[in-house]
Symmetry: C5
């Protein structure tokens, strides 16, 4: 799962009908996944995440396992809000 921070939201009226009623947030990877460019992308919110909160994002078919997104054409979903992240024995993030 990607570790990311909520940085914003996408508003869209013209969309496939199954997306109606979903909240689509803009998130940015906090642990740089690859070559420097911080990954910014959109994910459907399943847990009511707030601005700047650090979240767990699942990608692919995992985004449609929860009841709320079954049959919805999404490929990234926020499934948890991190309280704390411990790395190398230290608390590197605390809500």
């Amino acid at each position: 799962m990607r570790l990311a921070r909520v940085v914003g939201q996408v508003v869209s009226t013209a969309k496939v009908p199954e997306l109606s009623g979903t909240t689509i947030l803009v998130v940015e990877d906090i642990a740089p996944e690859s070559d420097g460019e911080s990954g910014r992308y959109a994910a459907v919110d399943l847990v009511g995440a707030g601005q700047d909160e650090v979240v767990l994002v699942v990608s692919g078919s995992a985004a449609r396992v929860d009841q709320a997104t079954t049959g919805v054409p999404v490929d990234q979903a926020i499934v948890a809000i991190a309280d704390t992240i411990v790395t190398h024995g230290e608390v590197t993030y605390s809500k």
Copy 2:
């Protein structure tokens, strides 16, 4: 979901039969995706997106959840047109 801009179209006559009748647009990521993809690729259009519009693109099996692409060998689909994108409290894109 990837945030991308419509930059063009692919026209193809020699294709698997299931692709007949689909519109395949060329899109470019506006927020450089983290996984290395500099981000110009083709996606089937499900919402009638226009040139230069910013769209939400789903990848993988999510591209075949909508009725229009069930059983069609596609792995990226445009599922929404963004009206506005807010990041860090500011409107960073408005249609």
Copy 3:
């Protein structure tokens, strides 16, 4: 879908039985998908693509949607040959 050019072929005798009878071409992304090294990989050919032709490649389970690859362990397939690609209003590729 990835936009790629056919650059060669892989010949293999020792393979899982389901791959027998498939044509496996070597393709290279034309739109530099990553930050320098153009992506070169192998894809099963579903449309009789020829050397140097520009093609649409699907990845993941999409590669097994077509009848010819159902039940075959492949994760990339050529599903169309591009006639023309238009980007920013200009024909950037014509067969």
Copy 4:
């Protein structure tokens, strides 16, 4: 499968219900999967991996094949702890 090292843990109370009872560890690729930043991400632990242990991580739907994660919205899971890794005829890692 990704070769990664356990570097920490994510604690979260606000999460989709299916995630309750899972242990989510932070892992870092030991073989730099990307060409710059080492990949750091979260994976559900299926084998009781300990801090600094080198593990095998599966991604995508493979993370939900095991009984413990069937129906759970996860896309990365630790499925084995490496005892030894041999590369180019040499033991490059031993537990």
Copy 5:
């Protein structure tokens, strides 16, 4: 499919039960993959590949299509050993 070379093996005793009896090799991409992955990872071997052989590796659910890996939590599998690879009209690899 990824074009990769067998460079070693992973030995693991603590693993999910479904992995018992599988051979897990370490492979390295010979053609730098486009999506940023610099490419050393582990894949289950379905064809008895030997050290330094060039192989075809499938990723994602394709790794579980073969009978030997159905129901096994793996996301990369070696499905063929390359005899020859021809690119731009020249034999660039021969076993």
